[in-house]
């Protein structure tokens, strides 16, 4: 039995304690916005926030998370897609296939929470998620837009 606080709600799940948080979120909780990409914390498609910190949930056993820790998934980032990062993503038409974008957005939101006015170097060092469609330049521009920074900067 594990108790998890996800998007402000407490969930009790019966699950092998070694089960990665990703699979508990997807299969027990039923929130499929968080994606499986590699299972070894390489690609970042599974990124969620644990107490506000971007975390690759595929490689974190559910037993490592306590009820007191606040887990936020893409579904809980905002009630209606109104987070500045989500709005910037829509405004710049960032996604292509979109599969990696939940993780990308969660990584971007965590970056901005920690560094509200990131430099280009901050963004390029801070966003390490893989996108095979190659949306990187629009990701960078959208983070700048969400931060209220001119893309020319």
């Amino acid at each position: 039995m594990a108790k998890l606080t996800i998007n402000g709600r407490v969930h009790e799940v019966q699950v092998d304690p070694e089960t990665p948080l990703l699979w508990v979120i997807r299969e027990q909780i039923g929130l499929t916005g968080t994606k499986y990409g590699c299972g070894i914390a390489q690609c970042g498609a599974c990124t969620v926030h644990v107490d506000g910190v971007a975390t690759r949930s595929c490689s974190m056993p559910v037993s490592a998370v306590t009820e007191a820790q606040r887990i936020t998934t893409i579904e809980g980032l905002s009630p209606d897609g109104s987070h500045p990062v989500q709005k910037a993503w829509v405004a710049l038409d960032v996604p292509q296939c979109g599969y990696c974008q939940s993780g990308m957005i969660m990584a971007a939101a965590a970056l901005l929470a920690e560094t509200p006015k990131p430099s280009v170097a901050d963004i390029r060092a801070g966003i390490t998620n893989i996108c095979r469609c190659g949306t990187y330049n629009r990701v960078q521009a959208a983070i700048q837009q969400a931060a209220g920074i001119s893309a020319a900067g």
Binding site: D16, T19, P20, W23, R26, E27, G30, L31, T32, G33, T34, K35, Y36, G37, C38, G39, I40, Q42, C43, A45, T73, I74, E75, L77, G81, Q86, W89, V90, A91, L92, D93, V94, P95, Q96, C97, G98, Y99, C100, Q101, S102, I105, I123, R124, A125, I127, T128, N129, I130, C131, R132, C133, G134, T135, Y136, N137, R138, V139, Q140, A141, A151
Partner: protein, 727 residues
């Protein structure tokens, strides 16, 4: 970054096949209406196969091709909407199913999505679908008013009688229009009059991708569904000898261990995590077969032998290169190699199936819905009419999802559990070890210069794998695979070789290893452009000429090739001083019906570290349906092509692939992505593709810039093996 046109953004667009998968249940209601001549959509009659207009004026445009990120869904909708003269803000889309297409005599044409063909191949008939629907809506209004249709005009989903000013909305006319006979002759608009097509409109499918609502195949949930993970023999061509299921069956949630075909075994459990961990616990015995003797070294040796082989298939020939080369004032020779690549779509292969004795349904991300239907029927042991496929949005395709291996497996597993939906999801490792790999080739080029330094003779020998021989040998022509010569053809609309060389021979010694090949974004233009464009740079250097001037002289008779090259040279600052430490390189090619060129700007540090600062890219795709999405495709193609150039390499050991995840198959990330300045310069009069062509020019432009920076030619990819340190 291209600006997005300030048009109103629609709040919510659903791709019904994907989102609807939750609500369709096991039996799709749409499938039951598919064979009816007057098919209806939620009680609303369709005007034709492409267009449904609902009473509230919303427009549903049917999209036959698969959306996998490339934007075809939006682009095709723009083309239909343009001719329909509907209000773009009221447009939604849906996928018709492969079963419906079968039942309606393929009214939607080809579902196959690859080769950058979505728009260039279907633009005419989808535009006619939109135009015919508009003509019927106008006719319905004219009939109601007792006037001639020619006295009425349509705009933004409203028909107006010009003389009287009377108006009627499409929604009010749709039922009457649907009863009319379709027009016999349909005139299409001149693209210069377009107001919806040709504009940089926002995509129709963005919002749900930013909130987690978008449902991919891997996310599908059906009532009572179980989950499966599979392991196929890691050695291609090997077989499953046997397995001891005791340890796996003892694990929580496990329902069944299933042999799948001759070479694979799957575990079915309540959750995928349970299935996959139980699969790890399964004791499997493989019969690896004779291919376990194959290594990268044996494959490389075969290719090397092909470089000098006497016999080869000729792809392009002019004059007599073999006779001219020995007489050249100066010769240049170089050998290049390009390794196997994996598609590595972000969403691993998956399919969900439910099998019953008289019916089988499949939900899957596929680039070819009809091929999925055929594969499902074959695996189910049923007729295609007893089966249905529901396409979901694809989490990347790049060619991989044209193959149906995962569909066959899912159906085979579901057949073992009648009536129970089973979702098969491949682990990343399974996905990497059972790809359809970009073919491996090597290339030897020999050039002869005349005393003035002009290119007089050129022999390009490609040695290596044919995709067609691997997937459809019946399509070989006299044993030859013409697709090997992509971008090198003597002429034609697909990929004409632009350079005029008096004595030219381009030929292919086919050498096919056991590794299954596949179409990988850009397919053979990837390595052909590296081989030719890097070598042309070498020849220019040997001739003591500027790489741009040298190319220009060879492209005098190819004005469209020349135009994109000139565009990137001008915008990329060729011939002007670069910022300190930066160096530039050029490349051009024609592929998928489009003319493309790139100018790259790089720095190489004394320690040999490469920074790709910027690539200026041009494409002449004839007609540009959505310029901002073309720009997105150019950027995306560069990320894909540069990943291959920097890191991409699958190698064979004991008959199997060595790279099983992103730790050993690295992917370019944001920190390495160059700025991309896109020049979309459609010259009209033809339709070229946009998803793939530009991928070809990124790598050679960067490699030529690296030479400019270091004096070193990188001829063996990926670049990670090259030593670019300067003493």
């Amino acid at each position: 970054m291209n600006a997005i046109a300030p048009l109103s953004r629609r709040g919510f667009f659903s791709v019904s096949a994907a989102a609807g998968a939750f609500t369709l249940g096991i039996r799709a209601p749409l499938a039951q209406t598919a064979s009816l001549p007057g098919a209806t959509f939620g009680g609303v009659p369709e005007i034709n196969a492409w267009v449904v207009v609902k009473p509230d004026d919303s427009v549903v445009i049917r999209i036959a091709r698969s959306e996998m990120g490339q934007g075809t869904l939006t682009g095709l909708a723009q083309l239909v909407a343009e001719e329909l003269d509907c209000d773009w803000a009221k447009v939604t889309t849906e996928y018709p199913t492969p079963g419906q297409n079968l039942a309606r005599n393929r009214v939607w044409g080809d579902f196959s999505t690859g080769g950058s063909r979505g728009i260039r191949e279907s633009n005419e008939y989808v535009r006619k679908g939109g135009a015919a629907a508009r003509m019927m809506l106008v006719q319905a209004a004219a009939d109601a008013w007792g006037v001639a249709a020619a006295e009425c005009r349509a705009a933004k989903s409203v028909v107006t009688h010009t003389a009287s000013g009377r108006t009627a909305t499409y929604g009010s006319l749709a039922v009457a229009a649907a009863k009319l006979t379709p027009p016999a002759t349909i005139a299409l608009k001149d693209p210069k009059d377009w107001t919806i097509a040709g504009k940089p409109l926002p995509r129709l499918d963005t919002v749900d991708k930013t909130t987690g609502k978008q449902v991919y195949g891997a996310d599908l949930k059906l009532p009572g569904m179980l989950n499966a993970s599979i392991r196929d023999c890691p050695v291609f061509g090997g077989k499953l000898k046997g397995f001891d299921e005791a340890a796996a069956m003892a694990r929580p949630g496990v329902r069944k261990v299933v042999r799948v075909g001759e070479s694979a075994v799957a575990v079915v459990a309540e959750t995928w995590w349970q299935a996959n961990t139980a699969l790890d616990a399964l004791k499997i015995e493989w019969d690896a077969g004779s291919n376990q003797a194959v290594s990268q070294a044996t494959i490389d040796a075969t290719l090397k032998e092909g470089l000098g082989a006497a016999e080869a298939f000729v792809g392009n020939k002019a004059g007599d290169a073999r006779a001219a080369l020995p007489k050249a004032a100066k010769t240049v020779e170089a050998t290049y190699t390009f390794p196997f690549q994996n598609h590595a779509t972000m969403e691993p292969m998956n399919a969900t199936a439910v099998w019953n004795a008289d019916r089988c349904e499949v939900w899957c991300p596929t680039q070819n819905g009809e091929a999925s239907l055929a594969a499902a029927a074959e695996a189910a042991g049923l007729r295609p009419a007893q089966c249905e496929v529901h396409k979901t949005l694809l989490g990347g395709g790049f060619g991989r999802r044209g193959w149906q291996d995962f569909v066959r497996q899912a159906v085979a597993i579901a057949k073992e559990m009648p009536g129970t939906p089973v979702k098969l999801l491949w682990s990343r490792e399974e996905d990497m070890l059972h790809g359809r790999y970009h073919p491996i080739t090597a290339c030897k080029l020999t050039a002869g210069l005349d005393p003035q330094g002009n290119l007089d003779s050129l022999h390009m020998r490609i040695s290596g794998q044919s995709i067609i021989a691997g997937i459809a040998p019946q399509m070989l022509q006299g044993g030859a695979d013409s697709r090997v010569f992509q971008g090198l053809n003597p002429g034609g609309a697909e990929g004409a070789f632009g350079y005029a060389v008096p004595n030219l021979l381009i030929d292919h010694a086919m050498r096919n290893p056991h590794v299954p090949p596949g179409f990988w974004r850009g397919v053979n233009v990837n390595q052909n452009a590296v081989y030719m464009e890097c070598f042309i740079d070498e020849v220019a250097q040997a001739a003591g000429k500027d790489p741009l001037d040298f190319r220009r002289a060879l492209l005098k008779g190819s004005p469209k090739h020349l135009a994109v090259l000139n565009a990137v040279a001008e915008k990329g600052g060729w011939g002007k001083p670069a910022p300190a430490g930066r160096h530039r390189g050029l490349a051009q090619i024609m592929g998928y019906g489009s003319y493309v060129a790139a100018c790259a700007e790089v720095t190489v540090s004394p320690a040999g570290e490469v920074t790709i600062h910027k690539i200026t890219a041009a494409t002449d795709c004839g007609h540009a349906v959505n310029p901002q999405q073309i720009a997105a495709q150019i950027e995306g193609s560069f990320a894909y092509g540069l990943t291959a150039m920097l890191y991409g390499e699958c190698t064979v050991k004991d008959g199997a692939m060595e790279q099983a995840n992103f730790d050993t198959y690295p992917i370019m990330r944001l920190a390495e992505m160059p700025a991309v300045e896109s020049i979309v310069m459609p010259s009209g009069g033809f339709w070229g593709g946009v998803g793939e062509p530009t991928i070809a020019v990124a790598a050679p432009a960067v490699l030529n810039a690296i030479f400019a920076a270091t004096g070193k030619r990188v001829r063996q990819l990926p670049l990670k093996h090259a030593d670019l340190r300067r003493a």
